[in-house]
């Protein structure tokens, strides 16, 4: 076992994967190394070209940068430029069969960024107005001094206790540290199967993402700068959102066995049709994908001279995956510089950051279970709608349900915080009261009087 072995001047570090986790790791490793006067050689292995449109330049994701990550990055000195942010989001609109309500950001400010992970969806014609978010982060890492190896990695092996990377041209290079940031959507994790690691890949589920071209003016008119979230009682559908971007709207669906029939049922739901232009039909040949999304964290995401960051390590349940990539990548970079690169160093100094996210995800599962119950039961939806509607004129500190929903759907706060706020007696009493009042007023005002 490797003990007390840290990085030294001239140490060579490989990063496999130039998505957010790989770029953040490289960026912070170089930044911290420079602060302590350490000269490292960092090589990012990424075969993808993020300047290409369509799947070739895209890492498949809904493309939301949460409010908390936008703030963290600003504090780090990384201000997302207008050439990367497709649209600043200042509110979300919750759509249910019992009604619709708009919830603004606490400060009425655009603090959520909608981005394209690639440059533009497949089929895009013309010159893209914005750049790829992943490409932007990769450029930041390169500007910090990392080097790009624009080749596919075909093999990983050990060379006298050091990780050795073989690229598609057969070239082999040995490194002092290997950071693995390959996500869960490529076959790259297979490269590590024969290395006798204790690493266990995370379990994942499939999501569905489709890019709908509508044009900037239409999007502004019908969707505005709001993320549209749908709690619909459709079989197999857990969660759905329409995210307005520059000229496209990204449709994100989460559920079981999502197929064309479910996508069609969703797009034809009256709650969805009401926020789209009248008579609008989705183009037949849309850019779409079914990326995998973690539902558990990886086991033992480190070894001597090797660390797994981002989705292939531990990420946040359903929301703010890029925020989790930032946190795990930075924690791994700090551990490598200040503690060392042995498995024990990572266990003590990196793994707690992952475990903290993993622990929060368990509470997140409870939060989403409650959301699912609300989605299934109409009387709860009436109560929820009434409570949120009544809160809107109030100060943000008194908009309890709105802030719970905001933080749940945008990933802006830990699930633990959200859950504890839900357990507050005044929150529970008020919700119960609104369920009673909401359902009474519904029974009094509906035209035919039958129970549902």
């Amino acid at each position: 076992m490797l003990t007390n072995r840290g990085l030294e001047n001239g140490s060579r570090v490989a990063v496999i994967g130039g998505g957010p986790a790989g770029s953040f790791f490289s960026y912070f490793l170089q930044q911290i190394a420079q602060r302590v006067g350490l000269d490292l050689v960092v090589e990012i292995h990424e075969a993808r070209d993020f300047s290409l449109t369509g799947p070739k330049g895209c890492n498949m994701c809904g493309g939301i940068i949460s409010e908390s990550l936008v703030q963290d990055l600003a504090a780090e000195g990384i201000n997302l430029p207008a050439t990367v942010v497709q649209r600043g989001i200042d509110s979300y609109v919750l759509h249910m069969d019992v009604g619709t309500v708009r919830i603004d950001t606490p400060l009425h400010e655009m603090r959520i960024a909608a981005v394209h992970r690639g440059t533009a969806p497949r089929g895009f014609k013309g010159v893209p107005k914005c750049r790829s978010f992943d490409g932007y982060l990769l450029e930041l890492a390169l500007a910090k001094g990392a080097h790009l190896v624009h080749k596919r990695v075909d093999g990983v092996s050990w060379d006298a206790g050091r990780p050795r990377v073989t690229t598609q041209d057969g070239l082999q290079q040995t490194y002092d540290l290997l950071a693995v940031a390959v996500g869960v959507n490529t076959g790259a994790l297979k490269l590590f199967e024969g290395l006798n690691l204790d690493y266990k890949p995370p379990q994942s589920t499939k999501t569905y993402i489709r890019e709908l071209f509508m044009g900037e003016e239409t999007i502004q008119k019908y969707l505005g700068n709001s993320m549209h979230v749908f709690l619909l009682n459709l079989p197999r559908l857990e969660f759905a959102a329409l995210i307005p971007k520059g000229e496209y709207v990204t449709l994100c669906l989460l559920g079981r066995d999502i197929d064309n029939a479910l996508v069609g049922a969703f797009l034809n739901a009256p709650e969805v049709k009401q926020c789209l232009p009248p008579g609008w039909e989705p183009p037949e040949d849309c850019c779409h994908c079914s990326p995998r999304l973690n539902i558990t964290g990886a086991g033992h995401a480190f070894a001597d001279r090797m660390v797994f960051v981002g989705d292939c390590g531990v990420t946040r349940l359903y929301k703010d995956g890029i925020g989790a990539a930032y946190r795990t990548a930075k924690a791994a970079a700090k551990a490598a510089i200040f503690a060392g690169v042995s498995a024990e160093d990572f266990r003590r100094n990196y793994w707690p950051a992952c475990q903290s996210i993993d622990k929060d995800n368990r509470i997140g599962k409870l939060v989403f279970a409650v959301t699912h119950e609300i989605q299934k039961r109409k009387y709860l939806r009436h109560g929820l709608l009434r409570m949120v509607s009544e809160e809107q004129p109030k100060d943000s500190s008194r908009r309890r349900m709105s802030m719970v929903l905001w933080d749940t759907f945008t990933g802006s706060a830990p699930y633990r915080d959200v859950f504890l706020r839900c357990l507050h007696p005044s929150f529970l009493c008020l919700f119960l009261w609104e369920i009673v009042v909401g359902n009474c007023s519904y029974r009094l005002t509906r035209p035919h009087g039958g129970a549902s």
């Binding site: 908390s68 000195g77 207008a82 649209r87 600043g88 603090r111 520059g246 946190r327």
Partner: protein, 127 residues
Amino acid sequence: MTTGILGKLYQDGETIICEGETGNCMYAIQGGQVEVLLGKGDEEVCVAVLGEGDVFGEMALFEKEVRSATVRARGEVRVLTLDKRTFLRRIHEDPSLAFRILEKMSQRIRKSNAALKRALGGRRAPG
């Protein structure tokens, strides 16, 4: 491009924070410039001009004193607000997040020292 902006837009001359007020957030400039002003009315003096990437209002995060200066937009400026509570929670989780703010504060102290030295004409400050 107006759809891709983050934060809040302030017009030329608009006050973002006001000297003497209590504050519970800091700000990061996303685009444009602001001027930092001390004093009020005719006695108002511009002590600094900050631009993209700079932060201001950070003292409110670490102490409970009122704002020490007024900050006003110089032309159109786009500013992102960082909440005190969220930010302090994140600093508690990752103290290195405060590094850049400490760096900025250190640069400001250095500039103030240089200005003081100039004002004293190279003589030693009393006391």
